[in-house]
Amino acid sequence: MLLSPTHLHIPDGFLSLVVSLIFWAATVIMVGLAISKTNKTLGEKQIPLMGVMAAFIFAAQMLNFPVAGGTSGHFLGGALAAIVLGPWAGILVMTAVVAVQGLLFQDGGLLVMGANIFNMGILTAVIGFGLYRTVSSAKKGLRLTVSGIAAWLATMAAALLASLQLWISGTSRLEIVVPAMLGVHVLIGIGEAIITVAALAFIEQTRPDLLTSEKTASSGGRSWIIAGVVVSMIAVLISPLASASPDGLERVAADFGFLDAGQGAAYQILPDYTIPFLGETALSTVFAGAVGAFILMGLLILLGRSLRRKSVTSEH
């Protein structure tokens, strides 16, 4: 399965309702922000642009090239979309892509669509754009290198988050799913990176005006850098922790006191569905994972707010 094109599109039934709803909430907030941001700063012209770009991501997924051993690169496109269109438009584009993949092709479920959008659209945009933004005024070579790394990391992070969601939902064992998903995506991520870099190089060569920092600067500079770097760091730190010592994650969560603080309350709010089959320890893991998601969300909301303030002042 992990080699099939659906490797990151979680179907319905594989995530618990809590996890599905948490990520739906996060996704709705981010997409809502993205809509108001694009409406405000980029204008009506963006709608056909985003629609056609979403179709482009689909079409680009057809372009694979033979890698060793019969696998072929399968293109996610989240990082590329965010780098070229800016993060907010990138998020909307990927939301449309994941929605159509789920609706039309049953490639990913409906109830879990929030999680799929978050993994493949929002996380990849934050990492892809955030890291790219750190070097967006540097020389071409450095920019391309960094965008390649960002594309690779975005793929890895999406795979990691998907595994964590599966684990928290009680679908997979942490020590199995994380190494398996990450192992496979090391390769897939390389394909992603190559296509992203080559496509950017092509655009740079033919329409450099599309990559000028003027557009990217208007969509918020520093906050995206911070978000991108922080999220990347979290991903980089969690991966070895989760794959090398699966208990590590839970210990970290306990050390930070999330478990004690969260347990009792959650027990009363959500008495029914996780408990009958997951028990206390599993519930606590829900929190360990959710905390990550919330940190991310909080960061992004703060970011959105600071952006809004900025754009309001710049209007005068």
Partner: protein, 251 residues
Amino acid sequence: MPVKHKTTYPLTLPDCEGDILQIHELNFAYPDGHIALRDVSLNLCSGDKVALVGPNGAGKSTLMLHINGILRGEGDVAVSGLPISDENLPVIRALVGVVFQNPDDQLFSPTVFDDVAFGPLHMGLPENEIHQRVDEALAAVQMQGFGERLSHHLSMGQKKRIAIATVLSMQPQILVLDEPSAGLDPRARRALIHLLRDLPQTMLISTHDLRMVQELFPRMVIMDEGHIVADGKATELLTDAALLETHGLEI
């Protein structure tokens, strides 16, 4: 103007059994069940210049895609005596150069040089030969010095020429061109006709431009609804008003 070059060009058909391309009772249906080719048989001899005409949807492009094995129907297709099969495919693609109707379908590399060099590079030729072939191909279409230009920023007529160069650089024995003159302005169309007249290769060219056929092609094949409905001297077929009328053609 249109008759100017007639005398310089032999309007007789070569007399052979089809030594370079043999298609025998080819049938093809697209995956959705649409039957696009029905019992198509066609032979080409070295040096033949053949026009393939017929209304939209007749099956011209489908037939052309069979000649280098992009599509595979039921029936026999052989190029230079080699039947189309998986192991022959690379060689056949070196023998047959296909230029698609829209140059944007043909050009996928950033620079003109990259695009013209793709075929030779893929064939594993040594570097100096690649450079030489690219130069020659660009010279043949009068586009010397365009190597470093971006294909994307050329005019339509220039793109068409480069598209032809991308297959010339592979030095194929057969040129298969799908509606090369569509969308060109009259001057560019004229230049294309000159170019095609001067190239020595065997050619199969689909077109809606019957006046170009009149001027350039000794032999003409009419397709309609997947069938070949006529195959003969262009001069004769083009005067058969009833035939043209039946198949929605007009000159």
